[in-house]
């Protein structure tokens, strides 16, 4: 068997445009040096919606949400309107590292059917800190779950490694609530977390593996709280922001050098982010817009979606997954199959016409479920998915007083500005999409990458 090795670095929420600018400004010399060695930086589309759990799952499985089953951090239980929080157990398609390990964990997907027959020997992977892999599950190699991982004991496979990680004070995630009450302390935590990530990467790098996936999530946390400091040189935290990127750049350079020194020029090196980031101007409460249009009716009592009253035709889940309140799916649902089309048209016109207080449009594009999703788990898909103009953070809160609100956050996700770094000989027919990368990796491992 020809020895093939791949190192994938995930950097959560790092935008293509910012990286490009920081490389040009000289803040990321290691990345510049990698680019100078024949790599290319791409602007990439994230999943729809551009939420970490959906995007990373799309990356790991190489299939769309209707095939892997994850549409967001939150799922509404259609039986009683309560919230459910999907985890790795709800991912219904195998990941590329399960396919490489020749053990899809009893799961099936179009990608698995295509690639499983092409591998004869199982290959092992080390996968560290990728969001939405909790609880960790048996696989060939090592899996250390990322956000939202609740209990270290269930976040590590094989479990024997828990004590090793505890001894090195490995943190699964910084405490994001600290960003609201102690900004300096939160920044300190982010820098420290990067150190423990490096320590963990180094430790497992020495082992035996074919594929190594090292994910850094602190970038996303930094952006949520400090993205306004990214390019504003007068911002009190600008230097800290740039310093964080310098530290990130040196970690990338370090991993690249170790990879090259161990495997020469043969191995495949890739960096990707799961979505872009942009400055946040206004929060937009989509459910309030639906309420004002008479499509959502709320009772005074109850919590969140359990406040929905008879007469509700549509509601939104974070960030802007609009579901029709179908009669055959929800206890209080009234929308008949035949009425869906006209309500969808109403929704498209309500959302398309949505403008902020200064008359600026809010919605950049809208998709119906059939346009973007395909697979066995279509029933859970939103009927309409909206993407905002950069700056308008769409929210699924229930029972707010106004459509527009200011935010305590400085940055928000976007779908169109994720980043990808690959060897220059890899090409795409158009703009790359995060869902294409699993196939690209599997092609590499079965020697069909030329």
């Amino acid at each position: 068997m020809e020895e093939r090795k791949a190192l994938v670095i995930g950097i959560d929420g790092v935008p293509f445009t910012l990286v490009k600018e920081y490389v040009e400004k000289g803040y990321m010399p290691n990345l510049k040096s990698i680019l100078d060695q024949g790599f290319r930086l791409w602007q990439m589309d994230a999943s729809l919606p551009d939420i970490s759990s959906v995007s990373w799952t799309t990356f790991l499985t190489g299939v769309n949400p209707a095939e892997h089953g994850i549409y967001g951090f939150i799922h509404l239980d259609p039986r009683d309107y309560s919230l459910r929080f999907p985890n790795s157990g709800n991912v219904l398609a195998p990941t590329f590292f399960q396919i490489l390990g020749l053990d899809p964990g009893g799961k099936d997907s179009s990608l698995a059917r295509k690639y499983l027959p092409r591998f004869k020997e199982p290959r092992s992977s080390i996968v560290i800190n990728v969001p939405h892999t909790y609880p960790a599950y048996p696989m060939k190699g090592v899996l250390i779950s990322g956000f939202v991982a609740l209990d270290m004991a269930r976040a590590v496979y094989p479990p024997v490694l828990v004590s090793t990680l505890k001894r090195m004070n490995y943190v699964i995630d910084v405490d994001p609530s600290k960003g609201h009450r102690d900004r300096d302390g939160f920044l300190e935590d982010l820098f420290q977390a990067l150190d423990t990530r490096k320590e963990a990467f180094d430790l497992f790098f020495q082992g035996k593996w074919d594929l190594f996936v090292a994910c850094i999530t602190e970038t996303d946390r930094l952006h949520h709280f400090f993205f306004d400091a990214a390019l504003d040189q007068d911002h009190a935290y600008h230097n800290d922001f740039v310093d964080f990127y310098r530290k990130l750049d040196s970690l990338i350079g370090h991993l690249y050098d170790v990879f090259r020194s161990r495997w020469g020029d043969e191995g495949l090196f890739m960096i990707l982010s799961d979505h872009g980031f942009t400055r946040l101007k206004r929060e937009v409460n989509v459910n309030r817009a639906l309420e004002e249009a008479g499509l959502l009716k709320l009772r005074k009592d109850g919590e969140r979606y359990q406040r929905m009253a008879p007469g509700t035709k549509a509601f939104a889940l974070d960030p802007c997954r609009i579901h029709l309140h179908m009669k055959d799916r929800y206890p209080l649902g009234e929308v008949e199959e035949g009425d869906g089309e006209s309500i969808l048209r109403d929704l498209e016109s309500i959302m398309g016409d949505l403008k902020d207080e200064e008359g600026n449009p809010v919605i950049r594009s809208m998709y119906r479920r059939d346009e973007i999703y395909q697979g066995p788990f279509m029933d859970d898909a939103p009927h309409l998915l909206c993407l905002p103009v950069d700056g308008y953070d769409l929210k699924g809160r229930v029972g707010t007083d106004s459509i527009f609100a200011s935010s305590v956050f400085a940055g928000m996700h976007n779908q169109h500005d994720a980043m990808l770094l690959l060897p220059g000989n890899k090409d795409f027919s158009g703009k790359p999409h995060i869902g294409q990368l699993a196939g690209l990796l599997l092609d590499y491992f079965c020697g069909e990458d030329h």
């Binding site: 951090f73 939150i74 039986r79 009683d80 309107y81 309560s82 919230l83 459910r84 929080f85 956000f147 939202v148 609740l150 995630d173 405490d175 994001p176 609530s177 960003g179 609201h180 946390r221 949520h224 009592d301 109850g302 919590e303 969140r304 359990q306 974070d318 206890p331 953070d393 929210k395 699924g396 809160r397 935010s407 305590v408 956050f409």
Partner: protein, 267 residues
């Protein structure tokens, strides 16, 4: 004495010991398989005639099959059945769709039981909980004191060695007694099979699904299963890796996840 005999005799010993110490005692019957097994053991302990009342807390949201089963057995076995309902809250429309599920459970189950305990001046309640049901239940004692607010101080409990049970604690309002604590889920089913104990039909498959744990309709989900007899359930449990209460709402992890997500602006 085989394994099931040992389990049975330990349970019967605890039931008799409890009745000897507390005359103002009752048994809580949820109509599920565990408390129905406990009911069976109580009948055995007192040769067919249970000398204390049996309480069923009715939230109004139980499966119709459970009500029918309860009434049939109460009649056949001559039970002194007390049905406890928090009438005030039921009239106000409390339910899983109003407020949180936690609030609903608190009003329609916990407070309904508090009302029954106060009305009948009960000093001890027999319950059919088992240690293997949930992590926290592993810490339970056979005789477990509770204060007036039902608070359980699991870090400060009397030791229970050599079958010596402490049943007098200052200021405590009542005791919870758990004669089934040492049974596992599989033990219960094997005992049900041996004794031919009647069980609600919800536990058996219908259209490829059955309930492994039953309670209120909105908060229980069936599992995929083709087990239509006790034998088949036992075979299924021997290979299952899913926890018994997986079909119940998993409130604790959800609360923590929600806090994390909210700190990042979701919801």
């Amino acid at each position: 004495m085989d394994h099931l005999d040992q389990l049975e005799s330990k349970s019967i010993y605890i039931i008799r010991e409890a009745y000897y110490r507390f005359k103002d005692m009752a048994m809580l019957w949820s109509v599920g398989k565990d408390s129905t097994t406990l009911l069976w053991l109580c009948r055995k302990a007192f040769f067919g005639k249970i000398p204390f009342p049996i309480i069923h807390i009715d939230t109004g949201y139980k499966f119709p099959e459970m009500y029918a089963f309860r009434d049939r057995l109460a009649k056949e076995w001559g039970l002194n059945l007390i049905v406890g309902r928090n009438e005030e809250k039921i009239k106000e429309g409390m339910g899983p769709f109003k407020g949180s599920k936690l609030e609903c459970c608190n009003e329609l189950k916990t407070n309904a039981l508090k009302q029954v305990i106060a009305r009948y001046g009960l000093k001890a309640i027999l319950l059919g909980i088992r240690r293997d049901e949930h992590g926290i239940r592993a810490k339970e004692r056979y005789f477990s004191p509770r204060d007036t607010q039902f608070k359980w101080n699991y870090e400060d409990q009397p030791a229970e060695i050599w079958d010596q049970y402490k049943s007098k604690v200052e200021e405590e309002e009542h005791f919870r007694i758990h004669p089934l604590l040492h049974f596992t889920e599989l033990d219960v089913w094997e005992y049900v099979r041996r004794e031919n104990i009647p069980i609600v039909e919800l536990y058996f498959t219908r259209d490829g699904k059955r309930f492994r744990s039953i309670g209120c309709v909105p908060c229980c989900s069936p599992i995929e299963s083709n087990a239509s007899t006790v034998d088949e359930i036992i075979e299924e449990l021997k290979i299952s890796k899913t926890p018994e209460r997986a079909g119940r709402a998993q409130d604790k992890e959800d609360t923590y996840t929600m806090q994390k997500l909210r700190a990042l602006g979701y919801m």
